[in-house]
Subunit: 437 residues, 4 copies
């Protein structure tokens, strides 16, 4: 069986800058293709829910980004591959014009996967020519290329999220690919509380410090009280105890909207868990497996993370607390031993003796915070169409921090703000407990 790891470049440089533009472009584009390689044309066609997209669409949309924001704007001689693609593969940029409706992305059997791959090659050729242009390109061009690459890295993670959801809908329960075999401890490491000192901390990404999304800035001061943070993520065994203690039947543990979700969707366990004759099974990118005590529990909604924390006598950290604590204990750059996409593990691992006091703070699973996704003081969206990238989504979503096993190492930062609606569960989300000092 084809192994995604054979193509992933083990850069081991979480949070570092991407390499020089041409090399970065080639590497990012190649990685996207590598992620699609274990999949058939049929696999790449299916849209399993309105929130997910077909892999074929991801392959085309990331290409559309370069065609629309770079080639069409900066290369007067460029002819679009197909004028319909401007609409078909626009995600949500109103400034660019019409959009094919999101829930109908899976209806587009044409262009075929082969045609989309040809579209990628067409745009790649023109982009590489533009990148190698004698005399260089403008600063704006370079900035948009960098944005386009980080954009594509986000879609790399989305591809794995969406493929997993699609495969889980199939009663055959097929695997994306075999996962590397890993030794699992029988029990998780005991939970320890790390003290975090309070005071005024600096949160967010300074302008001058390399690429970041607009929503990560401005860097600003925040006043924090001392508190404690768990040294690792909550595990499957711990979450099972919550279930067995009636966690999903006790309204006093839940936010009101969370309790509505539990009942409307008949939640009884995290997404991808199912109970059979002989215990619980968890569906993974490698297919179904038995529950593993030490594995971090994944695919929680905000509601489930919040309810678990309440049950455990703890709470979620705010995003300022999270960033402050990680800076204080792990430092401003991601751990070099983080389990990110480049490890090829394709799953969260058990917490191990880590080079950082707060284990798993980068990689493994995104960590829910209690913070609603909102603008930092003085936030200004990017000018132009890419100003629609982040700001307009700052409502009814909650922030997750830290990246996961599907996040490229060159994509994550300590200031990185991911966000999902509180009922969403198909992202690779986990939970680290906090409590007042």
């Amino acid at each position: 069986m084809y192994d995604v790891r054979s193509v992933l470049t083990p850069t081991r440089e979480a949070g570092r800058a991407l390499p020089a533009a041409t090399q970065a472009f080639e590497q990012v584009r190649k990685t996207t293709l590598a992620l699609a390689r274990p999949l058939s044309a049929e696999d790449c066609q299916v849209q399993s829910m309105p929130d997910a997209s077909p892999v074929k669409w991801h392959l085309a949309h990331t290409t559309w980004f370069f065609e629309t924001f770079l080639l069409e704007r900066f290369d007067p001689a460029y002819t679009p591959c197909n004028p319909h693609f401007r609409v078909l593969f626009n995600s949500y940029y109103n400034a660019v014009g019409d959009k094919h409706p999101r829930p109908q992305r899976g209806l587009l059997s044409r262009p075929s996967l082969d045609e989309v791959l040809a579209y990628r090659r067409h745009v790649d050729e023109h982009m590489l020519a533009a990148l190698s242009l004698q005399g260089g390109q403008s600063r704006e061009f370079e900035a948009l290329v960098e944005l386009g690459l980080h954009h594509e890295q986000q879609h790399q993670e989305l591809i794995l999220m969406d493929v997993k959801h699609m495969l889980s809908c199939n009663p055959l329960q097929p695997a994306y690919q075999a996962l590397p075999s890993v030794a699992w401890p029988d029990v998780p490491a005991p939970l320890r509380w790390i003290d975090v000192a309070g005071g005024i901390g600096v949160i967010g990404h300074p302008d001058e410090a390399g690429f970041a999304f607009d929503n990560e800035g401005p860097a600003h001061q925040a006043l924090l009280r001392p508190f404690q943070l768990a040294q690792r993520l909550v595990t499957e065994a711990e979450f099972l105890a919550f279930i067995q203690d009636g966690g999903y039947q006790r309204p006093e543990l839940w936010l009101s909207l969370g309790w509505d979700s539990v009942n409307a969707n008949r939640w009884r366990a995290p997404l991808y868990w199912s109970e059979g004759q002989d215990g619980w099974t968890v569906f993974t990118l490698g297919g179904p497996r038995r529950l593993r005590a030490a594995a971090p529990v994944a695919h929680l909604s905000y509601f489930e993370a919040d309810a678990y924390a309440r049950w455990a006598g703890a709470r979620l950290p705010t995003e300022a607390e999270w960033e402050h604590a990680v800076r204080q204990h792990n430092g401003p750059t991601p751990s070099p031993d983080a389990n990110l996409l480049d490890t090829g593990m394709l799953q969260p691992l058990a917490a191990h003796a880590s080079s950082s006091p707060l284990a798993q703070a980068t990689g493994d699973l995104w960590e829910w915070t209690s913070s609603s996704y909102s603008p930092y003081p003085g936030f200004r969206p990017w000018p132009g169409a890419v100003g629609e990238y982040n700001g307009k989504f700052m409502c009814n979503q909650y922030v997750l921090r830290g990246g996961c096993f599907a996040t490229p190492a060159s994509h994550i930062r300590v200031t990185y703000r991911n966000f999902f609606a509180p009922e969403a569960r198909w992202q690779f989300s986990g939970l680290r407990l906090a409590r007042d000092a």
Copy 2:
């Protein structure tokens, strides 16, 4: 471009029996494959609405029918290709067990199209072996094979319906394949009224007269009043006049539920019609084309057919009237010059001087009748699981008669009862006017 007609067998024997079992089996199975051949793996994957199915599913389900009702029952040594297929490809037979939910057929990227084609070959081999068995098979076996072939012929028409709908959802407006070029008259033949004598007629299919579905019997007497029937179908030009006369804005022309549908779905024209800068376009299996005055109007709901008839000062015939008139004027067997699947036209044609007084009564388009789909007096469903074939759908559906250009010639009969919900429009449905004498 691949041409479906190169494989379709021009049997020219509408309404005649299928040939001897083995030959019939090979021919029907081959035709289904031929219909899928212009399509990619992606095309065969998509389910464009809950009422439609992916072509891949049609290919598998028609195979499942032979595996489940023939091989598993009559061949003790037979091993199912894949035990999950029993559930995945069951359409609606509760007696057979669980069913994969209909609206989720498009989520099954696995088995792949190639695997489904291998499934077909596997079952074909075993079926052909069983059909050639020394000493022959039981009468029940033979009857079920015949049923399985007629079942597959129904799915041949469904494949074309569902593919057309899927392609129409794509802004690229792709063709299924190029249509044969046909000379079109500028105007339709003038509408003439054919007198039909009343009295007691015999309606339905007698037991002893070869294959028919259970819902076509028993043959029985019906009392009819004299009436008149148009000699041809209503055309696109005529329907355009209805639109231009405000047909879709005048509640007095519509059934109450029809008026609700007009408003809820914002109907302004038949399905697949769209109005542009320079007039109306009609989407066909050959892609979009301009409106054609003499072409029979297709893709009408029952509501639209009924409203048009009211506007025209006429009405729909009952199904007893339709059958009585066709027997009286065209005789008990379908016209040899009917435009059915075997002509390869893949579209309804203009009415021409026909060998039959009631032109287009077989083929071209199914004709809406005013009759609710209900059991004939003395109706008995088939025994066993196949008893779910027809009877349980006899509620809130209306009968269409006569077959269409996508109906195999060996599949249609003067007694054939097709049926759809009154709001359905994706079937190849047209309209012939009737009026009281």
Copy 3:
């Protein structure tokens, strides 16, 4: 407690004509008020579902009918009570203009009940003046008055249906009023089959024979086969046996849409039945009571009636069979001992030795037939706005025959066609079995 019976006029003249116009007008209008008298202003305000209307709305709409179709049209000096009422109290007459949306009838706290009662008095005064006009009124005027009175009688039955549904939604389970005490047999009379001779029967209402709705004509011949009809309605004990035999869990007993309804709505018993610690309770206009073996089972959907019949090895009669049988055995006029609104029983009674071979064929409960509601051969809707009365509803509804305990005696006829959607259950519907001879 106020007793509706004290005002109901026991005319005992089922199916006979209404008395002379003025007397009829006064009697019908008074009866409507009598039905509302046990109810508070709050009771008259509530709309418990989109299919039901507030009693206050019924009181106003029946008045609107006379104001709109009689006073406004025939009395040039008439000034409408309130010009907004033309819209607020229009039910479904597109020809009259705009309509307040049906599901929002319960939002109209104004006009108050008192104002609606004043509206009734205002219109009554003008109508009585018009009816007593020297020299009489036109034939059209008289016909519309007669129609308005029959229209109001239909709403009398609707008031009881809708009030019952509204009260059933209240956990207090309040009664509309105490029911008269009746002696109930412990077991139902044994079911007997009555032979019905076939042949050509006359169905429907001849023009010259007094008032009928347009949908009851034209009278026409129908060809019928001999069959058998049960001498009484199916009872609660019999229906309980169906439940206990797993009737609601066995898909093979149900139409496909019926099985969908069972699952979507979690039907486990007829409407208003509930199972408690010590058996089944049935909610009635007199409040909850224990199940009664001999009571006719009420509040069945078409789907439940059809499934029960299939389970019992029988079927529903067609409406032509029903009318033919009743004419043949009971004669063309309703039984004088029928349990209709005028008896004040307000509930269906056990079948008793009846003056008619087919007991309960008039009154007690409406009887589902297997016939889709469709136009009779040669049907012509009334001219003008009242042409919207019946014809536009002839789709996806099924016919019920015979009237019920809430139908006024002067309102019912052997040709009377009632109709409801197959999933509707809040009407007073029961079931009489038929089978082939």
Copy 4:
């Protein structure tokens, strides 16, 4: 016409404590009745949408609070008025047991309004007896009485919100009551920006400072940057300019979910605005009136407030900014001249020369902030069932500050946190602009 103002007690003591318990109890309970007095039994019955409740339900639920949390708990001899009321009038306290479903509150015609008023008298008598008990009651009892009164004051405002919505659904556009006549300036006061100094401010309500809801504490430090706040609310004329500038057609002005709301609900103006032949009309508690240039614009969703601010080149304040600014400029107690319920104005007024620099900061209209409703650092819900009062709603809601013309003067505080979902518009919500310094 009855005038609500004749009963409202003009306490003029915004933000001050309620008077001694017995007097406070009598006053609050009397005020609730006064608000219901202009309404008929029908008016009090209707529930115009799932988010609103019938006035009758408010009258009963506020009584249920005292019965359930005081009388049943502290008076062993107390017998509940009706055991069903425990379920019927429970709003959302899971710890108390079952609840009648919220969207079905309008279906309860029984108990009648008269019976609910008797229920109030019954509970009032027992409460007054308990309050006058020799030797006094426990501290917990007293605290729960105080909570119950503040709870009832919240429902006083809800009554006016819900009544207004209900009346607006009626095409007759009836008034709740005539509004006092007020002189209106032709144009609003010019908008001025007030500088607010940054630094560390104290936000929230200290434990020892009298009654507050649990969500207002703990008092805590917050770090704030200098900014500016408008001296008054945005007006109808200003909002009209936004509409006329295409505000509702320009996606770039909206949050993504806001743009979805605009399209799904076809918003074109604030709730209760309608455009007619001769300009805009605004529906008020006094019925419809013409748009008034200087009137504060009301009934905005969070989405509309946010879009307007973006269009105006400004933003919403955070709730910490709002409280900090009001403390800095207006001081810690509400302005004595605030337009609250006790003025009887029943509408927001034009900003006038105010005793406070930030005019209208108390009263007139609630002011949207950009802050998601979330717990303050160290937040602890109250123990017991009343712990469900606030905390469980801290998700997907946004905070509003300052009270409105429908808020009782003894109910508002500078720390008061109101909250609604971002799409809600039926509350009395307005908008004050902020911008970075």
